[in-house]
Amino acid sequence: MSARIGRAIIVWWHDTDRWLVRGIFFTGFWAYVCFSIRPRLIYDAFGIYLPYPEFSVDRACFREAFSRAAGPLEYASAFLSQWFFVSPVGALIVTGAAGLICFGTERLIREREETRWWLPCLLPALAVLIVYQTYHHPLTALLALAICLWLAVGYKTLARRIRVHGVLAAWQPIAFLVMCVSLYYLAGTVCLLFGLLVGTWHVCVERRVVAGAGAIMASALVPWLVGTKWFYMTPVEAYCVAWPFGPGSASDLETGPLNVLRGLFPFPLGMLLVAALCRGLPRRLQDRVAGLSRRGGRALRVTAQLLLLAAAVAAVHQFLRAPHREKRFEMVHFTLQRQWDQVLLVARQLPPSRHDCFSRHLVNRALYHTGRLGEKMFSFSQDQAGLLLLSDDARHGAPKFWMLSEIAWELGDLNFAEQRAFERIEAVGECPSALELLAKSFLAKSRTQARSTAPKTGASAFETVRTTSPGRGTDDTSASSREAARVLLNRMAKNVIHGRRAEELLGLLDASDAADVPWLQDVDRVGALRCKDDRVFQDYSEELMLAGLLRANPRNQMAFEYLMAFYLLSRRTDKVVENLHRLNDFGYRGIPRHYEEAILIHANETSQPVPLHGRQIRPATVQACQRFLDRVRPWQDQPQLIMGELADEFGDSYFYYYAFGISGTGGSR
């Protein structure tokens, strides 16, 4: 009795050790994810750089999720993903997933009162950290693994109880099959791993080879039987459901994090095998190894364990980051927050070679909103595709849909914004931002239509539109557009995070006066910029878009500045000069620096005077132009040879971009 009590005390003592270290580790894990990784960045990138986790409080959505393999898990994962909106909660979810995997692995391999495996079983947490640190979001796969592990633990417990209570042995395979099929339905092809774990346990621990082989074979057949017969999948598809193996699986992950995630799945199996092997070692050797781990005082042991874990986390932080991807995520985040200075600050931290058309696009947007597009755009890396993303060089995908719809809205191209937003919804999912933008678009049409049409006495507003706006051209109605906005906001109201905002916006739909309501003011602002002359097109171009907007409203400053930026990027200095007169429309006092540079280039090339419409070019710009020409002139045949030398002084000027097609390489930032 006393020996038993003594043993229990020792176990409790060591348990406290373990729980203390685990507690500190996972608390630190949570803090690291919350404050260093910031799940809010991941949330903001949903539907842009990450797949959008579609979830709504909706019977149809629920039914659809439960009608396919792994649908329930994806539904739950999508729900949890919504809470990444609040970084501490998102960090808690990631920590929870990591914890479930670690504890599940430990429980699976632990036999009786073994405690020696708890430390290596924390390795999966580091893998989860690596994946999230690189700004990927495989929550579905992680939860699938966790469910699989705990189901295996549950099976192990159930199998033991069945035998202890003398229940018929036949129930065991039935229980296994039910669990396996249920797991496939709930969480996908991870049932294969379940079969492997159970089979290995039977073979290595229970010494029941037939049961183990049967479990492995049965689990291999379940995806084919259930997936192809119940869910209409092809055999290949049936084996690639909600886990990172197989063609097309986890295609949104980059190679490194994908490999880490893939390594996570066989880890519990590996630990199970290692544990079984170790148990096969001679008893004396096992005791010696166990004694080694209990050397030193408790404080020293705990400290050493914590230091080891901290070193591992530090190594992950130092060597396994994706700083450029993080910067892109930050740029998206600050763009959504309209913190334009922050966007530019982060953009500066990206090396010019790491910019792509999407980051350039966000930079230009931020520059416009901070009034510096004409002054500073070439102090950043630029290319023509990055301005409006209309060319094929801008890769077709979720970032493009989002950025195109947003920029079109800001410019006042309602139809284009609407088209891109609908595309985004179809391709990516019902993102709240796309729903809201569409609602604004329809409301803008509705409000401009209502203002432009004075109803006849006794006629409804709609009938008047039909009679005074015949045929092609003005074929919309105020009321129907508002109803379309209502449908979109009703849909948004089912979003867990943005539902309340949608309810507030629904209340604004029928408001006639936009005073003191920034949302409505923005709607009216864009409505006033809308194109009035209808043209049809199949391929949209920057010039078609921007010139059309300026024709509709010559006071559209954003369209003007973007048009000038387009001309600059396409090296059409003649067009820059041709449009200088528009500076008067916007109250410019001087000429923006890059326009000055383009004027000087144009004058130098054509030797023709350029009308400045009452303005002057700054002497500093003229001197810089002279210096640049003097430096480049001797190298006219091979100007690339002097490119590097000039980068530092002229890398932020239009001169440099015009000559070499590169910008943002240096200069006064």
């Binding site: 139809n415 919804i425 039909r466």
Partner: protein, 540 residues
């Protein structure tokens, strides 16, 4: 007990047994406590549940001189006697609502609702309608504010038709302005209940596109539809339980009433966009023609009357006796059939034409004009002949052959005998199109973009023998508000007399089957009609 168990396990077993016995004793009062709590909760709930107001209270209700606002608008309709209940939501203030649905015979259906959502019991509704064909159906709505007395609204009145409606419709569901083939499916809905199931979904074959489904005479045992996606492009043809595919781009389909032949349109669609119009997108055929597929010979052919190089032919449909093929046809004002005719696309106006066909001799007669665009001043498309052969239901729009993209598209009826045509009363200010007759010719179903101008919904309405339509009404749903936030659109509804017989698995197998009837290499009007590829999503 397993002999290999250690003594610790044995102790545990005995302890468990002892503990179990103790737990049995301990659980008995706990069970009683739980049962008691449940019973108390049930009794409280029963006591709190509102009861039906007495007749005296209802009689004393304050009358309101107007009808209640209900959504959807199910007032003043002609309703099929076999339709699922018209569940609706009362949009009036109140804490409690009492609804009575009555007719001439049989007990009324009475419902109490706190929220204003009215879910009508299916069996009682069916009995009421079945017993009262041809009679008036009244819905009395009473509302009681949280504190106050009952208020009664004027009755909502509808008429129960004598004629039944076909029990099923099949339709296509997709996103507005679908470009990426995501979430496209063909569904069938049981009109006598709310059951709805997928006939085929694009998700099952790698996010493919499905379109242009058709049945002969509303017969669900025969089906054709067009698919494209990962497994290429093909027409799926179903006869009974078997399905196979014919390779090629075969569009709008019209089954000959005999079931031996299907006419397909083949076309090159040009999608384009508007910079300022209310509706952003448009579509036009830069080239099109008709072909016909013989199921017995598995051959695809065409003929000069239906494939004139100087014209655009589309939207085929057969007369009920199978002697005439009706279609839309327009002169083609451009030479190049491959690119978008930006200057002329809005000048194309279709005539309704027909051509005589002898199926036994495979002989086509001369083309006749049924209704010209010059007569209506609009483009006349999508003809559908009534089952009695008297009327042509068609759609008109400003130009072209995609009325769904034009808000002023409307449904018209043409009397084939007198030649008179008129605009149907069921039209709305928004695009109305994609229409279909029921097999008894008394009902039509169509897609309408009312009230949003963007999201098409399915509407039903009655047509009398003179070709006059009743007020159209939204397809009833179990949840009356389910269309209020639905971002999908419905199109191409087709009545069918029963559920589609072929299973989704058989259809899917046909789609995935690489063994296809080769029919491309069509002779005649136009050799190649390439389909514009949708924008493919690049991997991120």
């Amino acid at each position: 007990m397993n002999a290999k168990n250690s003594s610790a396990d044995h102790v545990a077993f005995r302890s468990a047994k002892g503990r179990l016995f103790a737990e049995r004793k301990a659980t008995k009062p706990a069970c009683l406590l739980v049962l008691g709590a449940v019973g108390l909760a049930a009794a409280t709930a029963w006591w709190c549940l509102p009861g039906r107001p007495s007749a005296a209270i209802l009689d004393a209700a304050q009358p309101t001189a107007r009808r209640p606002r209900i959504h959807p608008d199910y007032d003043g309709l002609v309703v099929p006697p076999n339709l699922a209940p018209l569940n609706f939501r009362i949009e009036e203030p109140g804490g409690l609502f009492f609804i009575r649905i009555r007719s001439r015979r049989g007990p009324p259906v009475e419902i109490l609702s706190r929220s204003g959502d009215v879910e009508i019991p299916l069996d009682r509704w069916r009995r009421l309608l079945a017993e009262n064909r041809g009679a008036e159906l009244s819905i009395d709505v009473y509302a009681r504010p949280r504190e106050g007395s009952w208020r009664r609204y004027e009755s909502v009145t509808n008429e129960i038709a004598q004629e039944q409606i076909d029990p099923y419709i099949a339709y296509r569901v997709l996103r507005p302005d679908a470009v990426y083939y995501r979430s496209i499916g063909i569904y069938q809905r049981h009109l006598e209940s709310y059951e709805c199931s997928a006939v085929l979904h694009g998700r099952w074959f790698g996010e493919g596109c499905l379109n242009c489904h058709a049945f002969p005479n509303a017969d669900p045992s025969h089906l054709s539809l067009h698919v494209r996606g990962r497994y290429g492009e093909a027409a799926v043809l179903v006869e009974g339980d078997g399905a196979y595919t014919a390779a090629g781009r075969l569009g709008y389909a019209a089954w000959h009433p005999s079931g031996k032949l299907v006419v397909f349109s083949r076309f090159e669609i040009q999608l384009y966009y508007h910079t300022a119009r209310g509706h952003t997108r448009g579509a036009t055929d830069s080239d099109s023609m008709l072909t016909y597929y013989r199921l017995d010979r598995r051959t695809l052919k065409t003929a000069p009357p239906i494939a004139d190089k100087a014209r655009l032919e589309t939207h085929p449909t057969w007369s009920p006796d199978g002697r005439y093929l009706y279609f839309a046809s327009a002169p083609k004002p451009w030479a190049d059939g491959q690119s978008f005719p930006a200057e002329h696309y809005a000048q194309v106006r279709y005539d309704l034409k027909r051509v005589r066909y002898d199926i036994e001799k495979d002989h086509w007669g001369p083309v006749e004009t049924v209704l010209s665009a010059s007569r209506t001043g609009r483009s006349n498309v999508s003809p559908r002949i009534s089952p009695d052969g008297r009327f042509v239901l068609f759609c008109t729009c400003d130009y072209g052959e995609f009325p769904v993209y034009q808000p002023d598209s409307d449904l018209y009826l043409l009397n084939l005998k007198s030649g008179k045509y008129w605009k149907l009363e069921c039209n709305s200010p928004c695009a109305d199109s994609w229409h279909c007759w029921s097999s008894n010719g008394r009902w039509i179903v169509f897609s309408s973009k009312r009230p949003t101008g963007v999201f098409t919904r399915l509407y039903l309405c009655h047509v009398d023998k003179d070709g006059r339509t009743s007020k159209p009404f939204l397809l009833p749903q179990r949840d009356p508000g389910c269309d209020d936030d639905l971002l999908s659109v419905y199109n191409l509804p087709e009545f069918i007399t029963g559920p589609v017989r072929v299973s989704p698995a058989a259809l899917l197998q046909a789609v995935r089957d690489t063994e296809r009837v080769q029919v491309d290499g069509i002779t005649g009007a136009t050799a190649k009609l390439p389909f514009p590829e949708p924008w493919r999503l690049a991997p991120q």
